[in-house]
Amino acid sequence: MAEKFDAIVIGAGPSGNAAALVMARAGMKVLQLERGEYPGSKNVQGAILYAEALEQIIPNCRRQAPLERPIIEQRMWVLDDESYVGSNYRGTKKKDEPPTRYTVIRANIDRWMSKKATDAGVLLICEATVLDLIKLDGKVVGVRTDRLGGDILAEVVVLADGVNSLIATKAGLRPTIKAADVALAVKEMHFLPKEVIEQRFNIANDEGVVIELFGKITKGMMGTGFLYTNRESIALGIGCMADDFKKGGVTPYDLLDAMKAHPAIKPLIAGSEVKEYAAHLIPEGGYKAIPQVHGDGWVIVGDSGGFVNAVHREGSNLAMTSGRLAAETILKLKEEGKPFTAQHLARYRAALEDSFVMKDLKKYRNMPEIFHANPQFFTTYPELLNRAAATILKVDGIDKKTKEKEIAGEFVKRRSRLGLLGDAIKLVRSFR
């Protein structure tokens, strides 16, 4: 294939689909390459879809996209070995109209979004793994794949190939991702009849629940678990930093099975049929781990650029938004007749800085380090909180003041006064 395209997009996840669609819709000749049999066949997500980011790319998306359930209730559980302390928010579909968060099945969303892109004129070729970038005088001018013979050329290449970012790494555009900057998540899909899900979670036909899990389920590692209700399935998973897994102690699948056996979780999935087990990395290094995302003839979008807000579990929306902003930058430069040099593509970086993508990542820039270095947030505190709740709630003839003293004493004993103060400061600093 000696054909030349205006743009080549590598990857058909949310970031690549957004970029390809926006460029093709404006009349650009776009080639998109995906290594999977179909878009989504390699991809993993919880999955919560943030509708606003998609709405910016596909108006009226709520009416067309294959959504599962809008989230009306958010539960946050801090777990000890056998108990949890939790907080809840429950609204109604009407109150939060239009809903901004939906559960989705990732393979369905990717395929649907990709169809929009091909309808807009994108030439999508699946089952093609990109092996290398082609460079000419330091400028990226095309790609080489394992399927289509020869070089394929383009004015600009959009790297939307996900967290491992192999192509950019191989081409020397960025360093290899580090174990300290990625989380490994494992996930299962548990199928149950729709009515059973609705009964168990106290929801109606078109309502969904999210449970965020935090505490001793990660066995001291920095990480979290999740449980999401789809229409006829429950998605359940847990993720921890790869370098914490490296320290040893527990395998990813044993960690998942232990979480499923927790007395608060087990009844929620009882009797379900498991139909898939998945694993995927999540770039969680935050702002400080973001590589160079543009250069002569190339831009990086989505997970490949590390755009994930781990604190709020947002990734696909940052992926879609970064893909859209890259495409818009490319379109504007084309319109102005400017070449895709690093200097001009710097506008993409500026657009990112100006959007929620970088603003949010900047806000939490200290978080990964602080949580990483202080495992007490994942072990000691959840334990203390659960013990405090149990002490307060037990009606055993001991007066409340004595109980309060006992609880305060426990905290000091476990962390010391200075330790408590230090932890409080760290917590504040991480959120700032």
Partner: protein, 94 residues
Amino acid sequence: MSKVEEKLFENRYRVDEGRPHIAIISADVCEGKCTAKQCTYCCPAACYALENGKVVLTTDGCLECGTCRVICDDHFNIEWSYPRGGFGILYKFG
């Protein structure tokens, strides 16, 4: 079947017979130099097994996550790439 095998059994794969996409660079490094052998307990698909002190890699159940690539960072002893287009794990739901 081990627990993880049971999990992988639910998945769909198109295995590229005879063309593993991941390789251990030096078996000697694994056996002699790498004390932790972290690949054997970090891989979510248990593709790395310890057999008589040697690390044996079987990529058939690989989920293509990339974990082994990033955690083998004491000796950088893994050559990692994606399978050929269309091969490997095929998520139905993701």
